[in-house]
Assembly symmetry: C2
Homo-oligomer: 155 residues x 2
């Protein structure tokens, strides 16, 4: 077997900077949300539901949108159901499964929390970058996202 | 209270592309490691230990290096200890706590898995980018990482 093409020092730095930036950012945004009682995962689920018609999504679509396994999402939705943020609904006419639906309380909370969350995203990420860098991120990540979605195996 | 400065469409796209790229990448790299019995978190802990003098690190340093809480790391190390990859050692002369130490088996495994992991990092990320984009990522994320490390509260 040939030697693997190890990462060059520059590639290594970029890769580690990407990992570290994401982890630190996730940690900080999650921490900034603590006062609201939501985790960053909760927040993203509420955002996805709040942007969907009738504030509802199939569990399978929600798992795809938030990039997590069905089983992990299911545990998460159970916790959010217990907190009164969402409910599960089965559609009798439709065998394709269960929906997650935003409750009135979930809708109230996402509207209350969103302004603080955007301050936090700006402070710890967006406002640290120039407009050119922001445009570049989009350009850099779009092919990565497309590639990864195409190789992602069906659940 | 003033209206929050909501993200512009461009900022929103960049932010979401960053999140999606990271999540999909994490999912894929974790999946590619499955055959080896390691998770991506296990892998990073093994890499950190293998690059440290005498293959050992204080738990507190390892938590900082891998950007996770002490308690989460502690659970993770217990699982890895059960798998024979690392051991915990207490240093009697040093009250600053416990070390995690790579075992011979952990060292063997990281050497065996690393070549496949680098193929996976190249295939799903590095080789999708131009050298200019790679240099830019480093430039874009370094101030973000520095900022986030400076605001990160001490444990």
């Amino acid at each position: 077997m040939e030697d693997p093409r190890w990462l060059s020092p520059q590639e290594q730095r970029a890769w580690r900077a990407h990992l570290a930036a994401h982890r630190l950012l996730f940690y900080q945004l999650d921490r900034d949300l603590q006062g609201s009682g939501l985790s960053l995962n909760d927040y993203e689920i509420l955002v996805n539901l709040s942007e969907s018609p009738e504030h509802r999504m199939r569990m399978s679509e929600l798992a795809d949108a938030t990039i997590q396994s069905r089983s992990r999402l299911s545990h998460q939705i159970s916790r959010m159901e217990a907190a009164g943020l969402v409910v599960r609904e089965n559609c009798e006419d439709d065998r394709r499964g269960t929906f997650a639906v935003l409750t009135g309380r979930g809708w109230e909370i996402i509207q209350k929390v969103a302004p603080d969350h955007v301050v936090s995203v700006r402070r710890h990420f967006i406002d640290l970058l120039t407009p050119e860098q922001i445009a570049l991120l989009d350009e850099i990540y779009t092919p990565v996202v497309n590639h990864l979605q195409s190789v992602r195996s069906p659940r």
